[in-house]
């Protein structure tokens, strides 16, 4: 027994397929245009793909066995990359905190301050890190300083957003309780906002560090210090066995960092 006659069902039945609207059509045309142009401009031919495969063979045969003769300078460069990641991330995480507080709705009441902070974070996030690195190399010259500053900006953009989301989720009870003692704003924030969010800050900070170590490797390619410089040199000089040693070292360090950081993360949460 149903409420309606089956003959009335037709007008309630959703269409099997809906044609896109005008904006939808434009979207599809736009997408297909660039997709086809992209494919054709990449100049993909069977011949080229075949040659690539052949080159891969040469590359691998020359890369093995890896040449560890330059292991000493390479290790120092790796240590420099590690330092860039540590310093940049640590300073970035610390600076993220005020940014996060200033962009969190439940802490900063003024919409003006909030949108200015969010705007700044938006700029940091949307400009890619290699572009930041190029800018800092121009400003401060080649070397690790440019790398540190780039990692710092990257970390702030990443952490401040997650920190402030965590702060906005806070239970407002303890905040009100400390406020009700007549405490100043700072006391309330350090007493009831930061402690409950702290485990999440640590976890996010560790993610940022994992991101930074990978980022710092690449930054060397544009001259911002670290092992990237070594890798680029070996590649340009076609010393693929040296390059292989460097890549292995990078792999090792990145894996170790991820392992340790996930161990720590499990302990804090």
């Amino acid at each position: 027994m149903t409420n309606h006659n089956k003959s009335e069902y037709a007008k309630h039945m959703p269409k099997r397929m809906k044609w896109p609207g005008i904006a939808g059509w434009f979207g599809w045309i736009f997408f297909l245009l660039f997709f086809i142009m992209g494919l054709s401009n990449a100049n993909i031919t069977v011949d080229r793909l075949w040659r690539g495969l052949f080159n891969a063979g040469t590359f691998i045969s020359q890369a093995f066995p890896p040449d560890f003769n330059r292991i000493e300078p390479v290790t120092w460069a790796m240590i420099e990359t590690f330092e860039i990641a540590i310093v940049g991330t640590a300073v970035g995480v610390v600076i993220s905190l005020p940014f996060a507080l200033l962009s969190a709705k439940n802490i900063t009441r003024s919409p003006l301050i909030r949108s200015v902070t969010r705007g700044l974070l938006g700029v940091m996030r949307t400009v890619p890190d290699l572009v930041w690195a190029l800018i800092f190399v121009v400003l401060f010259g080649l070397g690790p300083l440019a790398g540190i500053l780039t990692i710092m900006i990257d970390t702030i953009a990443f952490c401040a957003r997650f920190f402030s989301e965590r702060i906005e989720e806070l239970n407002k009870g303890p905040l009100e309780a400390l406020e009700s003692t007549g405490s100043k704003r700072g006391g309330v924030i350090f007493g009831a906002a930061i402690p409950p969010a702290f485990p999440s800050f640590v976890s996010t900070g560790l993610f940022a560090f994992e991101k930074s170590i990978r980022g710092a490797v690449v930054l060397g390619l544009v001259g911002a210090g670290g092992i990237g410089v070594e890798l680029r040199t070996s590649m340009t000089l076609m010393k693929f066995d040296e390059a292989a040693a460097i890549i292995l070292l990078i792999l090792l360090v990145v894996l170790a960092v991820e392992k340790v950081s996930s161990k720590i993360r499990l302990r804090v949460i």
Partner: protein, 260 residues
């Protein structure tokens, strides 16, 4: 001596709900008052107005004869230092130690906020926090995380935090509403005895008349934001007593009763 004077206080929220409508009463220094009413009777709103979390829409609130409605942020902080709060949900910082939570009671009155944070607190402050914990019978859990305690214990920690603050007036907002009856009794016994031994004024909201009768010297009834009863507990006559027991505050609202 009048400690707190509520004069024709009304509160209408932005969305048009009228939470309080010209409520008036005085509370004397050292008095123990229970504010009785159902959910939505305006008890919490009244507390929020006294504490400056909300502004009143009309009327006056005087603290020791001084108006405390419509103050600047700085002035509100000064008033709050002398008003201790106890909340239904305890409002402890869960992942910090019991000891640290008690220390937070000193936030308002200590000259710099940093002096109530564990590692930076002076020995004198640390001793005082332990003393407060000892008074509520929980010195043995001082190092535990606050959220590892039972509800009743957490509320006792909240009372210790309030003692640390050394307020003159205590506002307890449904302190036992989320506790089981035996823990609730323990908390009420403790709250009333610490408040009385230190000569503090206390206003406590409850919704169970039978508990109000056990503790209060005076009962004030609120119903839908209106003032419906104000009576010394010892002078409650049988009819009103029954009304209370039937939780029939609605009937009381037909005739506003006040005795002085």
């Amino acid at each position: 001596m009048v400690h707190l004077s509520i004069q024709q206080v009304g509160k209408t929220y932005d969305d048009g709900t009228e939470a309080l409508s010209s409520v008036s009463f005085d509370v004397n220094k050292g008095e123990g008052v229970v504010l009785l009413g159902h959910n939505g009777s305006g008890k919490s709103t009244l507390f929020r107005c006294i504490n400056g979390i909300e502004n009143t829409s009309s009327g006056k609130i005087l603290y020791n004869g001084q108006p405390i409605h419509d103050l600047s942020k700085k002035e509100i902080r000064e008033v709050r230092k002398n008003i201790g709060m106890v909340f239904q949900q305890f409002h402890l910082v869960g992942n910090l130690s019991v000891f640290q939570n008690v220390l937070f009671g000193g936030l308002g009155k200590s000259p710099s906020s940093i002096s109530v944070f564990g590692p930076f607190a002076k020995q004198e402050m640390r001793m005082k926090a332990l003393e407060c914990l000892d008074r509520v019978g929980l010195i043995h859990v001082s190092k535990k995380r606050a959220d590892s305690l039972s509800g009743g214990q957490q509320q006792r920690v909240a009372i210790a935090r309030m003692l640390m603050q050394e307020p003159e007036l205590v506002l307890a907002d449904e302190p036992i509403a989320s506790l089981d009856p035996s823990a609730g009794k323990e908390v009420m016994d403790l709250l009333w005895s610490v408040v009385k031994e230190r000569g503090m004024t206390v206003i406590c909201t409850l919704h169970q008349p039978e508990i109000a009768l056990q503790y209060a010297e005076r009962i004030i009834g609120l119903h839908k934001g209106r003032f419906v009863l104000d009576q010394q507990t010892s002078q409650l006559d049988d009819t009103r007593f029954e009304w209370l027991y039937e939780k029939n505050l609605k009937n009381l609202s037909k005739e506003v009763i006040s005795v002085d």
